[in-house]
Amino acid sequence: MLWHIAWRNVWRNKVRSLVIASAIAIGLLGGVFSYAFMMGLVNQAVRSAIHVGLGSFQVHHPDYPTDRDLRYALDDVDALLAEVRSTPGVVGASSRIVGTAMASSAVGTAAARIVGVDLDHDPEISDLRTKLIEGAYLSADERIPLLMSEKVADDLEVRLRSRIVASVVSPTGEIVYGAFRIVGIFRTSDSVFDQSNVFVTREDLAELTGFADNSASELIVRIEPRESGDAVAAAFAAAHPELLVRTWRDLAPQLQLAADFGGVFGFGFLAIILTALGFGIVNTMLMVVMERTREIGMLMALGMARARVFWMLLYETAFLSMVGGVGGLVLSVALLGWLGRVGVNMQAWAEGLAAFGYDSMIYPEASTSFYLQVAGMVLVTAFLASIYPARRALKLLPAEAIRADT
């Protein structure tokens, strides 16, 4: 019956209970939205980085990070690709030839990585073709095709079908020159990526530089689900100690930091909101204890043990918090469900966001486990908030309390 009494007590002062429950609901909504927005922002950046260029992990010659030139190549790439493709969780793997180039037009020059992609397998590891804003993806039907970003095209004052000349350092250290025709212009959410990469076919770049068959500058591997990527990479690295295997976390530590910080920030913000709400709950329950001093004294006088009085007030606080908490979570699920579909348009800050690799359309994300954690946090808040008012109630002396004015 303690549960009954506590539940009914919540509704003795409907306006007050609804006010504090609404405060809890709105506070939770704000906290959950902040968390989901942050996670959406960061996860999109991670997904975008993995899907456009990084992959889940990359394999290089151990000396490749030192100079990043065509001398440091992987041998017997077909065998490595066959091995990695047979690994569970691997959804795509492709090899690339990557060199450093100066791309020149009639009016200017831009330094960039020139990436030679495998037309058959690169779509398995890169969504670059979905980022095209003009023209078409690389094709064997085109002669010496090249993709460049809108940003580089603007800098070089070139457009679709324009020809550019790329100078590349060959594996033997010579500078070789090749002409390419722009067949597609892309734009991703990462302006740094856009500024530093141009894409050609693997065959064209190999022919231009004299790159050996069955070799590559790098292997890029995509794994689903994302979380299992580290384990697959570790297993591959253990099987090939002579190679340099790095996950997206190693290749883009700033993204890993953002992902970690995003979660901590989201929970921290939520904790601050719940702490503030906790003080509101404490205040409400103190008023309840003051208003019901005589009633509590009567219960003690009739023989209700202090522990039961404590639990009665704890249940009451928990119910009050749960009304607000459930309301807040329902609102959050509804709002985030909607925003998860339509997105939050941050176009006004698009340029600044792109500089850090973030998209301007944010789709807030929150998992079921996050909602369960929030529900747990609400219950913990309710428990902590009930302690002080309950202790005040327990200090009442029945003989005095039953004669109180309230």
Binding site: M1, H4, R8, L302, A305
Partner: protein, 228 residues
């Protein structure tokens, strides 16, 4: 064996360095089946005496036995359990739980005593019938008259089958008709079921119905008369 046996009981408050003797060496005994009123002017110590006898307040000196059990040396938890199982209380302001119905108010005390639900349901119906408000069983206190609420309080006090019922100014908030009805009820329970009642009261109508009247003044018994 008396149900209440108070021996040379004192209650002294230390107010501003000057000790105040609210109860000053009182001894009395109440036998089973008595219908006793403790009377006296405001501040004479009636309520303090009842609180001590009911285990709600500590004593400064003396001994109190309830049904042969000494209660003045009990711990707070023991006293709480003792009150729950062996003493019934009726208060001036009814003090029912406003969010529970009449029936639930009675059953709540029995639940605290650990009585099973089916037994609680039967006994609460019997008690409500006994105090004449069986038809009010599902009403909350706010929808009942003062007299009806006090009847629920009497039924609640009897729920634990106590050794006696302490009633502190039970008629103070009632009109004359409700007071008369309540006193009739209590007198009938006393006569028919042998329920022992001890009142603290100013109300002449209660005093008129009491068979024993203990008068206090300045914390001492100044008269103890038995009307037979």
């Amino acid at each position: 064996m008396p149900v209440i046996d108070a021996r040379d009981v004192y209650k002294t408050y230390e107010g501003s360095g000057v000790p105040v003797h609210a109860v000053n060496g009182i001894s009395f005994a109440v036998e089973k089946g008595e219908f006793t009123a403790v009377i006296g002017p405001s501040g004479c110590g009636k309520t303090t005496l009842l609180n001590m006898v009911g285990g709600l307040d500590s004593i400064t000196k003396g001994e109190i036995y309830i049904g042969g059990t000494q209660i003045d040396s009990m711990s707070e938890a023991e006293l709480t359990d003792f009150r729950l199982k062996r003493i019934g209380f009726v208060f001036q302001a009814y003090n029912l739980i406003p969010v529970l119905t009449a029936k639930e108010n009675i059953e709540f005390i029995m639940e605290l005593q650990g009585i099973p639900a089916d037994e609680r349901a039967v006994r609460s119906r019997e008690l409500l019938a006994e105090v004449g408000i069986a038809d009010q069983a599902d009403k909350r206190p706010g929808l009942m008259s003062g007299g009806q609420q006090q009847r629920v309080a009497v039924a609640r006090a009897l729920a634990s089958k106590p050794e006696f019922v302490l009633a502190d100014e039970p008629t103070a908030n009632l009109d004359s008709h409700a007071t008369s009805d309540l006193l009739d009820l209590m007198a009938e329970m006393n006569a028919n079921s042998g329920v022992t009642f001890v009142f603290a009261t100013h109300d002449q109508r209660v005093i008129d119905r009491a068979r024993r009247v203990i008068a206090l003044d300045d914390g001492k018994i100044v008269s103890d008369t038995n009307a037979g």
